[in-house]
């Protein structure tokens, strides 16, 4: 099956083409300077032409979406009704969903008869235990009944856990029942997975909660927000900007930094950022292990997964120490090296599509 994957980031459409029989994309690119439906339609028409010039026809298209709410609990085959269903979620992810709806329109117009599948980062978390999803808030009297915790790297976590199961089987190990999946992206995320079911996630109702990211504050005392309102007379936009664009590892370092730079560099100016990140990660691992009742494997994924080479041993040592020096404890470690495009293509190849 010839597969095209499309991923919308910062208004740019990143595309990868996987001809039949190829697990890695054979060509890829990004639509620069494309501003909405009309530009995307033109860009997609060029893509279709390029595919045809190479002697291929696109047989399936996969698009990644960050948020599917409680509606989209599985990969989704786009139909005429899908747009309306997505629109109802716009308020929950206002920067992403309306833009993706436009992209979907452009795809449907350009590739009329090609099946279009949507893959949601939140689907993996749709059936998380209620105790984990629920905030200690009276969501009904607040008028926010949909307020709940999600994860936002579900596609990475799901693929990483599947890869770990596959590897352990090939290596003759037991099926890793209790896993910590750590996605090393610009907004890192950790999930405790029991079997195939996530039971704890560091992110919240938005991706802001959880581990500190490259520019995001991560979990913080809500009192800080109130102080910013009261003392600095800031509005929601300023607070959002400060917490999502000027905080995190870059905020600690006092300059823009990348997660892999912080984890791998021995630059003393990054020491505090590294210590804070590893400390928060260790605490989150502790929470996950407590929920799981033990640990069989740690799995890394995400664009900075190669940094697991530095982070993994450090984490193993701390976690083993927490087990009161039981050096016989075995924690398997796996790293998923695939990018999101390969994950989408694999989902189309192997994952049953259930519109329910």
């Amino acid at each position: 099956m010839n597969i095209m994957t499309l991923n919308l980031i910062s208004s740019r459409v990143h595309y990868h083409f996987f001809p039949s029989g190829h697990f890695e994309s054979q060509w890829s690119g990004c639509m620069e300077n494309a501003h909405g439906f009309e530009d995307w339609r033109i860009g997609l028409a060029e893509l279709r032409q390029r595919t045809q010039n190479g002697g291929h026809t696109t047989e399936a298209i996969g698009v990644r979406l960050v948020h599917g709410g409680s509606t989209f609990r599985n990969p989704w085959l786009v139909t005429a009704e899908t747009e309306v269903e997505l629109q109802s979620l716009s308020a929950e992810a206002p920067l992403h969903i309306p833009a993706t709806i436009e992209l979907i329109r452009a795809i449907r117009e350009t590739y009329c008869n090609v099946p279009l599948f949507l893959f949601f980062e939140t689907s993996f978390f749709a059936d998380m235990p209620e105790r984990e999803c629920h905030y200690a808030l009276d969501v009904n009297s607040l008028g926010m009944p949909n307020l709940r915790r999600y994860g936002y790297h579900g596609l990475f976590h799901e693929a990483a856990c599947a890869m770990a199961r596959d590897c352990s089987h090939k290596q003759g190990f037991c099926f890793p029942e209790r896993c910590l999946s750590i996605c090393l992206e610009t907004r890192p995320e950790i999930v405790a997975v029991d079997g195939i079911q996530p039971v704890m996630v560091s992110s919240g109702t938005t991706p802001l909660e959880g581990l500190p990211g490259q520019t995001t504050a991560g979990e913080l005392d809500a009192g800080i927000v109130m102080k910013l309102v009261r003392k600095k007379k800031w509005g929601p936009e300023q607070i959002n900007h400060a917490l999502t664009m000027e905080s995190g590892l870059s905020g600690i370092a006092g300059r823009p930094v990348r997660l892999d730079e912080v984890l791998e560099s021995d630059d003393p100016s990054l020491r505090l950022a590294r210590d804070v990140f590893r400390h928060r990660l260790l605490l989150a691992c502790g929470s996950g292990i407590a929920v799981l009742g033990g640990l069989d494997a740690i799995i890394f994924s995400g664009r900075y997964a190669p940094s697991a080479h530095y982070l993994g041993p450090w984490l193993q040592e701390r976690l083993k120490r927490a087990y009161q020096g039981r050096s016989e404890l075995v924690i398997h470690e796996y790293t998923l090296s695939h990018g999101i495009d390969r994950i989408l293509a694999d989902q189309i190849r192997w994952r049953p599509i259930l519109n329910s």
């Binding site: 909405g36 308020a91 436009e102 909660e209």
Partner: protein, 400 residues
Amino acid sequence: MYELLRMKNSGLRKDVMAFTQELIDTPSPSMGEKDVADKVAKQMDVLGYHHVYRDEVGNVIGVIHGYEQNNTLLLNSHMDTYQAGEHHPMRVEGNRIYGTGASDCKGGLASQIFAGALLLRSLLPLRGTLVVTASVAEENGAGIGVRTLMDQTLPEMGLRPDYAILGEPTNLGLYYGHDGWMEMDIKVQGADPFQVDNAARRIYRSYEDRTKHTSSQVNEVEIHDPVFPRESEGRVAVLRVAKRMQIADQAQQILTKTERDVQLLTQPGSSVDVSVGVSREQQISYAGQEMQVQRITNAWATDPFDPLIDRSRQVLAAAGSPSCPGKWQLDRLGMGTAGATLLNEYNIPTIGYGPGHEERAHRSDEWVDGEHVVQGVYGTAAIAHGLIGFPVCGWTTDDI
């Protein structure tokens, strides 16, 4: 989010510049706005406004619907320009775009129209409705355009603005009011032409002295030469006086006091009658609508603690374009904005946010900085999103 707005705004820059120049290049005296109105309506269509209307007096209304209908933001700029003499054709020098109405307020009009387009292109979902209006007949002091919008056009469309932003020149500051002014006709009438002329002369000199001895840079009062309309009986002199009005001033009180003052200026025992009334004019809009215009603009000031001002200030700070609240000085009588109508008559909290300088308005060398207009697009869109958009909390455009 603001990165996204900035990026999309830079994509619009060329079109914004071209449209601003086109507007300035098109003459549009009060009641002669048709050509500009055609261009505005066409541009709104091209930019993808959901609905574009024209009402019976010639106002152009562009609507962008949100997901809900619980809030409506009105953006308003006038299409007409102050016409003291000939129309000064558009010319460009560097970033400066010269021409009649450049600052007041075709730069602001372009900014507001493209702010709607910027929100559409950014695909940022709106909760409420954005209504962008280009109104007629502001510079003649009539406010007919805005009154028709509020009394007739918008209600018929089922729209009731909760806030309003004027595109008048504020140098991209947040302005929340200004003094008002009133033009009065002092009518001196009597059987004896000498007594009438004498009384008119005394009144004229008295006002002329007041204008000469004012200590402020700002005009407080202004008098025009008397005119002597032909009447069937006796002699009549009409003197037109313009007077600045403060927030607390009531038009009727000023008329009464003026009448008392001018009666004292007539000679005791003379047989002239003096009456004072607000100046009125009969005008016909470009759409053929006849209307009587009262030459009065009330002072207005939105409460500086109104959430509209607070939220706008917060949003602009977050957007990296901090802006200080202030008020228009209106150093020359006869100037004004639609804020007086929107706030005083319709109780709609109103602010001004637009490119260009107030001091450059109504001058022969009027100009606006094109980059300011582009910046105005960004700032106006940011404010509009802050007021009627879905809040973007916890998300960024990239990374996820």
